[in-house]
Amino acid sequence: MKKPILRRTFLKGAGVTIFLPFLESMWPQIANAQAASLKRYAFLTFPNGTMPGTWNYNDVLSPLASVQNQVTVLNGVKNYNGDVGNGAHSTVTAGILTQARAKGVGFTTERLDYAIGAPQMSIDQVIADAVQTKGSLHSLVLKSPFEGGDFPALNLSSKYSGRISWRGNVAVEPMTRVKDVFAAIYGVSGASVDMNKIGPKKSILDGISASAQSLNNKLGAEDKIRLGAYLESIREVEKRLPAATMPLPPQPLSCPITGAPRDVAFHSYDLWTKAMMDLIILAFQCGRTNVSTFQFFIDGGIKATAPLHMDEIGLNDIIKAGGGEHEFSHKGDNTYRLINKWYVGRLKYMIDKMSKISDVNGATLLDNSMVFLGANFGNAREHGHTRPIGGILYLEDIPLILAGKGGGTIQSNGKVLNLAGASLASVHLTAARKMGANIQSFGRVGEINGFGQGDSATAVTQTIPNL
């Protein structure tokens, strides 16, 4: 491990000049051709699904009634990658953006393994690889600070139900604090973080890294995996040490100046989710990243992690008495619809904000973006499926909606598309290509384990016409 030391030696030297302005040649610039086609994609997901027949403007989608002309409702899409039974949360959530069925490989093992085929990158990462602008963040991966929803008996780690962005076997570690995201976007000075804090932090990382490395050699296989999460975290912290100042927004973007240190504690789920979404929007607006994922809440969350937003829709007492959001999903009644509606309201918030921001080509930020809102199950009560009379399981359609025009690549004019059994992998493939990722196939369409046909290693190549 000699490389990081060399890099730090360099950084130590750079420390003295770090307050000086960057040379203009170091500013990221978007080439004209790139600016003309600058597109962003935000993936928002919520847990535990919806009930069949509720994903329409008269019901769960009612918060979007006034912005129908900015969205496309995608009905009939199936999430083929999940387990029936208690592994459902883990597999379906880990697979919502990878579209490959996860397999439990050990309760403590945080790496994702797959039922069949090669490790799969989630679609946000595929797109980010293709569209990253020079000097910007690769992608912004966010989640709530809860962990849980684990199923030890099934060898499924809590990471499966708490991570949606994956690079092969490894989860992209999400950020959970507003101030971390803020510093990632604005850099130390923009976030009013004292640059003097960065030097000590580097020394600490050096110190703990050295002792953890030497311990690693003494451990057995299982402990190595646990320590691996710690070592990985050290690397993640190093990687995200904020830059001294935010690189100027790539021209021709402009970026609102914001001064004071920004943090929103996790007391109000409403304010906290909005703060996180504000930062996604800022990052897009300032050209700091083009791709973001935000998992609002872990899937299958147990009573200990009843989400705080229940307070804000007047359900907290019931939740505490009866269990968590997950238990409401199994009930699938009007109360659960309120919870679904609350998540749909998050999308409304984003649409409203993004449609008021001017972006390249005289379009709004929303026009130049796609915003995905979806969940894993099309039948919250049965967690994905129904079993009509006769005992045959039927895989229900998932709730899915796209907002924004993706730089003119999708229509989003109030259409309600019926895609009649199309796979979610097809939707991802189609959107990725429109975003500019040059891929010919994505994910796999096996039948859900338990639906009779087993998994298929065949990648999906079919796109959705008329999106």
Binding site: D180, S211, L219, D223, A229
Partner: protein, 561 residues
């Protein structure tokens, strides 16, 4: 009214299982127990039976250590130990991402992971912690034990600090590593104190502090090994106090005498007498019983306005005082289910309708003239297992099976189908009979429902009732699958106290907590069988159960994996 319907449906939803095994073993335990256990081992013990006692008595099983592995400190353990290390009340743990809990406990080694957020927050927030500690005169003198602004003094500070902060014997390499951080910071221009702050932040961000049992002096975890004296001191201290060892324990570890069973026992008893042992009530017992759930229960509902927030707090206090009495004042572990005493203040006594010598404080109260016994007769248990307006025989039965018999049915299957005909049923008995007549419900409900019915004489807030809300008589007849029949809670709790399954179950729960590990395989569950047989009886004391765990191979050794 809406609540009533909701709760009935909810009760069914939560606990009507589609695919439980429909057949019971003659030993009265449903087969799903073995099916679950067989996920890890095809030879899991049949709990409680003489066959399992004989099987678990096999010396090869008895002497086999358990792998627990690297265990990150939980958020509360971080709070407590930071307090001990710095002498300031700075809740670093509260700032960290929430820990996942397993079987209700938040100290499970395999669930306590470290993520970017976790480590980033430890490193960032430790700065404010150190600033606070250096400003506070008494904590400053605790840490800065020398006055010269040089490496020699830094070495002293480091050695004193990591001796307590690392959960093993420290080495010169440990000191050197931190000293080099000190020197790097000095070279970068930091003052002596600023550099020391960074050093101590490094120490509490290190794997040595954040993880328990990181190997003593180069020991590897690829083979079975005895815990070092320092590791044993740490494991014992986290078990009983939820924090790092005190000086007395560390001194014994330094002397190398802690492993001596006599000394280990004396220390265990000493620690249980310390006020720090209250943590065992909060960290173990409250979590075991889901007491936290009661905190969120709605009060002053029109349907039962007598349940006020004061009564809610009283109920939690009753259970805490009771647990304190059994665990720390060293009563028999059987008292948890069968005690004829509890702790009441005037308000709660009058809420329950129990007459006693007036006292506004909580006092030990004889309840032998009532139907209440042990935890099952306490408002906290009875309320947590009820809906807002009505009791739930399913929840109550489930909780008894889960917490006291360790025969918890599997979670709700996702393909749950509730027959439409259930909607028109009214009484709890009608609902139960319908479930028992339904092939996909009966497997689990045949066990759960009867255990719940025995408590029907207590309403949803734990008060005695002589009739049901609709005016009908209380129906608390309980017939277990093996034919045992009860018409009063006392009869059930008496039997429960004799039940080998209970002895196994309390031991298993306490061991799960002590080790921070689920006991799953045959060899692992055998440890709890053996401890239960050895140390739980009507004449045994709670400290015997605790010491029996502390003195077990599973506690004093670490298995390989």
């Amino acid at each position: 009214m809406r609540y009533t319907i909701y709760l009935i449906v909810m009760g069914c939803l939560l606990f009507l299982y589609g695919n439980c095994a429909p057949v019971f073993q003659t030993s009265q335990l449903p087969t799903y127990i073995n099916e679950q256990a067989s996920l890890s081992s095809p030879l899991s013990p049949v709990q409680g039976s003489s066959a399992s006692a004989k099987l678990c008595a096999d010396p090869a099983i008895k002497m086999k250590p358990i792998y627990v592995g690297l265990k990150r400190l939980s958020r509360t353990e971080i709070n407590n130990s930071i307090n001990d290390l710095f002498g300031v009340d700075y809740k670093l743990g509260d700032k960290l991402p929430l820990d996942a809990s397993v079987l209700g406990f938040d100290n499970n080694a395999s669930a306590l992971t470290v993520s970017f957020s976790f480590l980033n927050i430890v490193i960032d927030e430790s700065e404010a912690l150190l600033n606070q500690a250096f400003l506070n005169a008494s904590s400053r003198s605790l840490i800065l034990i020398c006055q010269t602004a040089d490496a020699a003094c830094a070495t002293q500070v480091i050695n004193k600090f990591i001796k307590k902060a690392y959960h093993r014997k420290i080495t010169t390499a440990d000191t050197q590593a931190l000293l080099s951080v000190y020197q790097i910071r000095r070279t970068a221009g930091d003052t002596h104190e600023a550099a020391l702050k960074v050093v101590l932040r490094t120490a509490i961000s290190s794997v040595e502090y954040l993880y328990f049992s990181v190997g003593a002096n180069g020991a590897t975890s690829s083979s079975n090994r005895n815990l070092s004296a320092h590791e044993l001191a740490s494991r014992l201290s986290f078990f009983l106090w939820g924090t790092i060892p005190d000086d007395e324990l560390l001194n014994l570890a330094d002397l190398g005498t802690l492993q001596n069973p006599e000394i280990l026992k004396a220390q265990t008893l000493r620690m249980l007498k310390s006020s720090k042992a209250l943590y065992l009530v909060n960290g173990f017992a409250s979590k075991w019983l889901d007491l936290d759930l009661l905190n969120g229960r709605t009060t002053n509902l029109p349907i039962f306005p007598q349940f006020t927030s004061q009564i809610r707090t009283d109920m939690i206090d009753e259970t805490k005082y009771f647990l304190q009495e059994v665990i720390l004042n060293d009563k028999s572990p059987l008292d948890l289910v069968n005690a004829n005493y509890t702790f009441l203040n005037d308000r709660l006594a009058s809420f329950y309708g129990i007459t006693r010598a007036p006292n506004t404080n909580f006092t030990k109260t004889d309840i032998s003239m009532t139907e209440r016994r042990g935890l099952l007769g306490q408002g906290s248990f009875l309320t947590v297992t009820s809906g807002l307006s009505e009791t739930s025989v399913v929840k109550r039965g489930h909780m008894i099976l889960d917490k006291f018999i360790c025969a918890s049915p599997p979670p709700v299957p996702d393909n749950l189908q509730i027959p439409e005909s259930f909607a028109s049923l009214v009484t709890a008995r009608e609902h139960s009979n319908a479930r028992l007549a339904n092939s996909s419900c009966v497997g689990c409900h045949r066990m759960m429902d009867p255990y719940g019915f025995i408590l029907e004489g207590f309403g949803p807030y734990g008060t005695v009732r002589n009739q049901m809300p609709d005016g009908s008589a209380v129906d608390n007849l309980t017939i277990l699958p093996d034919g045992r029949r009860y018409t009063s809670p006392k009869e059930l709790t008496q039997d429960l106290a004799k039940d080998e399954n209970y002895k196994y179950c309390i031991s298993k729960n306490l061991m799960t907590y002590a080790l921070g590990k689920m006991l799953v395989s045959r060899d692992e569950t055998c440890k709890a069988v053996n401890v239960g047989i050895q140390s739980v009886s009507s004449t045994s004391k709670f400290s015997e159960l605790i010491f029996s765990i502390v003195n077990d191979v599973s506690f004093k050794m670490e298995g390989s994996k």
